[in-house]
Symmetry: C2
Subunit: 148 residues, 2 copies
């Protein structure tokens, strides 16, 4: 087995590690957020993305990108949150095809309650991951990614 073959296997193993760590974090967040504030991970991700944009001025396509979801799934996700009065659709004045979303006070409040849960779970799960030899190298990196 030559160097090139090794590289392929190392990449594959790296990808398996990434997928495993992702699955662990995702499952833990899903469980805790769902239990404590009734939000799924994607729902939290959307609220979080909106919040980092001052709760305003994100179009459907941007939300789709932020959540790594298809356009159709994004439509339904926004509809679900709108039905719970966490956000509202706002028609775009200059381009009436576009739709902005706005966090409602209820949505902002729920996000403020969800964020500590999210952050605490993330810290706990990452600490656990750093104890596992397979995951540790990757888990440690997450603390060292520079702002960009």
């Amino acid at each position: 087995m030559g160097i090139a073959d090794d590289a392929v296997e190392i990449r594959a193993r790296g990808w398996r590690t990434l997928a495993a760590l992702h699955g662990i974090i995702d499952a833990a967040l899903e469980k805790d957020l769902s239990k404590e504030v009734g939000l799924s991970v994607v729902e939290y991700t959307l609220l979080d993305a909106l919040n980092r944009q001052d709760g305003w001025h994100m179009r459907m396509a941007q939300l789709a990108r932020a959540t790594a979801l298809s356009p159709s799934a994004t439509t339904r996700l926004v509809t679900r949150l709108e039905d719970r009065n966490l956000l509202s659709r706002v028609l775009c004045a200059d381009d009436r095809r576009g739709i902005y979303t706005e966090l409602t006070p209820i949505g902002q409040d729920l996000y403020q309650r969800a964020k500590p849960i999210h952050d605490a779970t993330l810290e706990r799960v990452l600490a656990q991951a750093e104890e596992q030899p397979e995951l540790a190298p990757l888990a440690r990196i997450l603390h060292q990614i520079p702002a960009s």
Copy 2:
């Protein structure tokens, strides 16, 4: 904002980066594997896990762990692959609750055809990710995770 708060935000950003990279790789693999050999990513992951175990001697629970899937999803995944004659269920002799899975020749053949696709896509996508400032730090790490 103190050091502790910074750590929280850095973790959160690291998690977003991890999720983003995972989504990109997963989507690319999904697309290429589906197109070229008619396999989804989880289906490939299962065949790959089986193959690394000599195509034998993995119980349902192990497969569930390898694919990060629930028991029920694992049952249906194995059923799908069994219906396509890629693997077969084998009752465990000593513990008749347990079920082993065995790759069929067809399954082995399909895996051998799928692996180059998988590896090439992974290499391509990771190379692209290394060009993006947001993803580069994490993408580069995947080449450096030691065997364990």
